[in-house]
């Protein structure tokens, strides 16, 4: 749970602005699961999602000055681009399939310079998925994310060692990712 504009974000951004390909490779390695998970959740198509992943990183590489580390984290930024590209794809597909009915207008265009915000239906899906987590994982996730507690505070409130809380949160996030990738939720 790092703050926006960490040193790491800034340094990677500086290197990408300066044309350092290795920085792009590091960025790809670090954020691939995030961008793919997001694109997959929206498009439901692995090949399309992989294309979107590439396009997201190429877009960041081509115009890195569109990102401002003072205004948000790199991962929010990449998530915003991924979300927009995935939604665009879904809309284009729908237009192709049901040309007569026109596009589905359910999701607003995210603003690139704002922190990433979930669409209403996506938010509901996340909350449902959290509510279905096993009790111990759900408690830890709810305290850490819903209530904004630190790892230490979460550990104190649950009367557990901090290490245990960290593992529970990590496991909870993995289960959430699986649940969100599932059509049923």
């Amino acid at each position: 749970m790092e703050a926006a504009g960490t040193t790491d974000d800034r340094s990677l951004h500086q290197r990408v602005v300066g044309g350092d390909e290795d920085a792009l490779g590091e960025l790809h390695e670090r954020f691939y699961p995030l961008v793919l998970g997001l694109a997959l959740r929206i498009t439901r198509d692995r090949l399309v999602a992989e294309d979107i992943v590439q396009e997201v990183f190429v877009t960041f590489w081509e115009r890195p000055l569109a990102f401002d580390p003072d205004r948000g984290s790199l991962r929010s930024w990449l998530a915003t681009i991924a979300h927009r590209r995935a939604v665009d794809h879904v809309r284009a597909e729908e237009r192709r399939r049901v040309a007569a009915l026109g596009p589905r207008l359910t999701e607003p265009e995210p603003s690139p310079l704002e922190d990433w915000v979930l669409a209403a239906d996506e938010a509901a899906r996340v909350r449902t998925a959290v509510s279905r987590l096993p009790g111990g994982l759900r408690e830890a996730i709810e305290l850490a994310y819903y209530r904004g507690r630190t790892y230490r505070q979460t550990a104190e409130e649950l009367g557990l060692p901090e290490g245990t809380v960290k593992s529970r949160i990590r496991l909870g996030l993995r289960k959430l990712a699986d649940a969100l990738a599932d059509e049923e939720v």
């Binding site: 390909e21 699961p33 890195p64 000055l65 993995r174």
Partner: protein
């Protein structure tokens, strides 16, 4: 921290949207996904087509990175941006033509083929006028491509040269490595000029790229004083540049020896200021009279140093 919404046993707690989004992103980041084989190479190949990476550049590495940064700014420039006046009455397109013009004098001195019209006069202002006239009615994308190609050729040539070889583009004799550092500083400053006018945030160069430029600026101080008609005699400056890429230098002001890292030598005056601000002052950005610096010792001498600092800066 925002106050938590009221909740009781019967009302489910509703987290604020930002926290829910953070949770979703953290969950997606835990997606068990490995990039397919070859994904990284395909990504780099696709990225190269859209914006060339900084070329391997030997002693020109910090210049190559500034070229890449300016190119990133140009990649996002709209037609309106290209026509916007940035500095010296030049539009962005004319500014890029000016960079290409000054680069071309260094390119010619390094034995690199120049882009644009043949060089008629080895002098910045008339060369700039020629290149601007040549580029003015062309598509800005072509101006960008010409400038970038020539800059990359300079970097490629730098790999095969000794940085200490003296060259004299525009009649100014320095080691070629210093001429390239001067190109780095000017490219950086003009990119910052354009970023300010267009309204995009420009991150600073990496500390490892700022440091050699700061060293170059420290070494220029005696020359800027001589050019300004100031002859302090056998006096010395201790210059402490703070922040990213900085350091401390001992600068003899009588041209007796080049500035070197400070190693306890006595000095007549000590100036402490921000590294980037000092480099930009040498580059003609900032006002010597109000330049933020801490001075210890001969304050008149410090004022002379700062007043003379922009003496080498041109358009």
């Amino acid at each position: 921290m925002a106050p938590a919404p009221a909740s009781g046993p019967d009302t489910p707690f509703v987290p604020e949207p930002g926290r829910l989004a953070r949770l979703a992103l953290d969950a997606y980041a835990e997606t068990a996904a490995e990039p397919p084989a070859g994904a990284r190479d395909r990504l780099l190949a696709a990225a190269r087509v859209r914006r060339g990476p900084a070329v391997r550049a030997g002693f020109a590495v910090s210049y190559a990175a500034r070229v890449a940064a300016m190119d990133a700014l140009l990649a996002g420039a709209t037609p309106a941006d290209w026509a916007t006046v940035i500095v010296e009455g030049w539009t962005l397109q004319e500014l890029v033509a000016h960079l290409a013009a000054t680069d071309s004098l260094v390119a010619a001195a390094m034995g690199v083929r120049v882009t644009g019209p043949p060089i008629a006069a080895d002098e910045v202002l008339s060369r700039t006028a020629d290149v601007i006239a040549y580029q003015r009615d062309r598509d800005p994308a072509l101006t960008r491509a010409d400038w970038r190609a020539q800059a990359e050729a300079i970097c490629a040539r730098a790999v095969t040269m000794d940085a200490a070889v003296p060259v004299a583009p525009g009649g100014i004799g320095f080691p070629v490595g210093d001429h390239v550092l001067a190109r780095m500083l000017e490219t950086w400053i003009h990119t910052a000029d354009a970023a300010t006018v267009i309204g995009v945030p420009l991150p600073p160069p990496l500390p490892a790229h700022i440091h050699p430029t700061a060293d170059f600026c420290a070494r220029l101080v005696p020359l800027t004083m001589a050019l300004s008609g100031m002859t302090p005699g056998a006096k010395a400056l201790r210059l402490e540049l703070t922040g990213s890429g900085g350091g401390t230098w001992h600068v003899p002001l009588d041209l007796s020896a080049p500035a070197a890292p400070h190693a306890g030598q006595p000095a007549d005056v000590s100036i402490t200021c921000d590294t980037v601000a000092f480099c930009f002052l040498l580059g003609g950005r900032g006002t010597p009279a109000t330049f933020p610096a801490d001075v210890d010792g001969d304050s008149g001498l410090a004022a002379d140093v700062l007043t003379a600092a922009p003496a080498l800066s041109g358009p």
